[in-house]
């Protein structure tokens, strides 16, 4: 791994180009989770009564926060990276400078993470406007930190997919077979305790499940020691995914 501070320069390149797309991307990263908040939260929530003494939205919002991070980071490192690295061959000239292939790919993962963080933050602002507050200021800060970890995880996983993807169509397998099921099996919209045992086991293997658990606990201030386990799962998984994603993409960049 030949990583250096030049990751920042790659990130900066993305930031400069981003200023032209700010409005459309803000809209896109808001719309899908907002759609969940309104349909599930307000529409279905009306029939759900109270969850642990609080309205359904208090249950839903922490889950939607991390899933919006997941979706944004994933899409940025699928489509965004594919266009830059594979279509436009933008990074071919970049790796002829002192920026290494590892720097370039890590810069894109950092960018995907940032996009996730932006989406998650926007979501939190919307929730606050809707009157759903995290329990304290500390909890807000911890949630933002969690979003960074979740962003790195899903940006890195997406990078692995992009590195072996022959075309855009390939991404459908990943989004339809992995990402979408994850959204429904990770306890974002309803608690998992009514699931049969095998489904509960399955959900343990989904990284989003662990992120949702932490997010929900931090949001309401109900900390418990088991969260350390959830956090470790995310940490280990993202370390591996980061490493594999960079190695695999480097193979594609350097021949």
């Amino acid at each position: 791994m030949n990583l250096s501070y030049r990751i920042y320069y790659v990130f900066l390149r993305n930031l400069v180009s981003y200023k032209r797309f700010v409005i459309p991307t803000f809209l896109v990263s808001l719309i899908e989770p907002l759609f969940y908040l309104i349909t599930f939260g307000i529409g279905m929530g009306a029939y759900m009564g109270y969850f642990g003494g609080k309205p359904y939205l208090y249950f839903l919002v922490p889950g939607v926060l991390v899933s919006s991070v997941m979706l944004s980071s994933t899409f940025e490192c699928l489509y965004g990276t594919f266009v830059k690295i594979v279509h436009e061959k933008l990074y071919d000239s970049l790796i002829a400078t002192p920026v290494s292939a590892e720097d370039a790919v890590a810069g894109d993962i950092a960018w995907g993470t940032f996009r996730g963080l932006v989406s998650g933050t926007l979501m939190m602002i919307v929730a606050i406007i809707m009157g759903i507050f995290p329990v304290s200021l500390l909890s807000v800060l911890l949630l933002l930190l969690l979003m960074v970890f979740v962003g790195i995880l899903f940006a890195s996983l997406a990078m692995i997919v992009t590195s072996v993807s022959p075309s855009f169509d390939f991404f459908n397998y990943y989004t339809e077979l992995i990402i979408t099921p994850m959204l429904f099996f990770s306890g974002v919209f309803f608690p998992l305790d009514k699931f049969p045992a095998w489904m509960k086991t399955l959900s343990e293997f989904m990284p989003l499940t662990h992120a949702v658990k932490i997010s929900r606990a931090v949001f309401s201030g109900a900390h418990n020691p088991r969260l350390i386990w959830n956090f470790l799962v995310i940490l280990v998984l993202e370390t591996v995914a980061f490493y594999v994603g960079i190695k695999s993409m480097k193979k594609r960049l350097i021949k």
Binding site: L12, R13, E88, D92, A96, P98, V99, S100
Partner: protein, 305 residues
């Protein structure tokens, strides 16, 4: 003169395919060195190894006293690359392309701004400073690539077919700029399929084919040695060959039949022409021998795909 790049038994394999097959060469500081060859000859692969973006499979490759390696940031720091494909950042303006690229070389902002102003003038793109890349012509894009390659004040410039797809005006402008850089002491490495380009720019060239170096030398000497001074082309059906060659047997000329044309390579084309007139042929011409003849003789006149 100092040797800047030296390669010994350099090879590059993709699976079982040898893109570069055990070549050796030396490039001197301050010269313009050209790699010529048809598509797939291994030119681009060779220069990619020189500027450290493609790993060497076997052999030795030393650039500026250091082994070329994809992690060799010091070499990348002193090299400017003009790529074959237009790899500009289409999301950014001309100026943004350059200022972002200057970052990659750790050039401080103030210095970068100064250099960008100078370089935009150098490649005559001052008017286009704030244009998007889409709004530029191919010639402008190529000039911008040249400017971008100069941001780090390179000691070595590697240009991979820098004038592909350009009209004559744009091509000559790029040639002038490259010659200007050479006169400032920069070492230039060039790949090209245009023989005139090699002649215009290069002090020395190698002709590559199927991963190997076929010939090395100064362009005009190579023409003289391989072809002679003049070429006579006679467009006649193949059946006539024997009669014509017999008639011209007193001339010390090499000949070659390719498709509809019989070629004669000689020192004195005029004498041969006078003799040809006696045969009452209509379709023939004489012209000076060029690098293109050398190229075609060495790599074959049939299509390479």
């Amino acid at each position: 003169m100092n040797i800047l790049v030296s390669a010994k038994d350099l090879s590059k394999k993709y699976g079982t395919l040898a893109a570069v097959d055990g070549i050796s060469f030396e490039i001197r500081e301050g010269e313009c060195f050209g790699f010529l060859g048809p598509n797939g000859a291994g030119k681009t692969t060779t220069i990619k190894m020189i500027h450290c973006v493609s790993p060497v499979t076997s052999g030795i490759l030393i650039v500026n006293g250091l082994p070329a390696h994809i992690n060799n940031r010091a070499l990348k720091m002193m090299t400017g690359v003009v790529p074959q494909e237009i790899t500009l950042d289409i999301d950014l303006t001309v100026y943004e392309n350059l200022i972002i690229f200057a970052n990659f070389f750790d050039i401080p902002k103030r210095e970068a701004k100064k250099r960008i102003a100078e370089l935009l003038k150098f490649v005559e793109l001052e008017q286009k400073r704030d244009s998007k890349i889409d709004a530029l012509s191919t010639g402008m894009k190529r000039r911008l690539l040249v400017a971008r390659a100069l941001l780090n004040h390179p000691k070595l410039i590697v240009a991979d077919e820098p004038t592909t797809g350009l009209d004559p005006q744009a091509r000559h402008l790029i040639w002038q700029r490259l010659r200007q850089l050479k006169s400032q002491g920069v070492t230039l490495i060039l790949t090209t399929q245009y023989m005139e380009e090699a002649h215009q720019l290069c002090d020395r060239i190698v002709v590559m084919h199927k991963g190997k170096i076929l010939k090395e030398g100064e362009p005009s000497k190579l023409v003289e040695e391989e072809i002679g001074r003049e070429v006579v082309e006679v467009r006649v059906p193949e059946e006539e060959d024997e009669r014509i060659i017999g008639h011209l047997s007193s001339f010390p000329c090499g000949h070659e039949r390719v498709g509809d044309t019989l070629y004669f390579y000689c020192q004195d084309g005029q004498g041969l022409m006078r003799k040809l007139i006696e045969l009452d042929l209509h379709n023939y011409l004489t012209r000076p021998a060029t690098m293109e003849d050398v190229f075609l003789k060495l790599t074959g006149r049939s299509l390479i795909e």
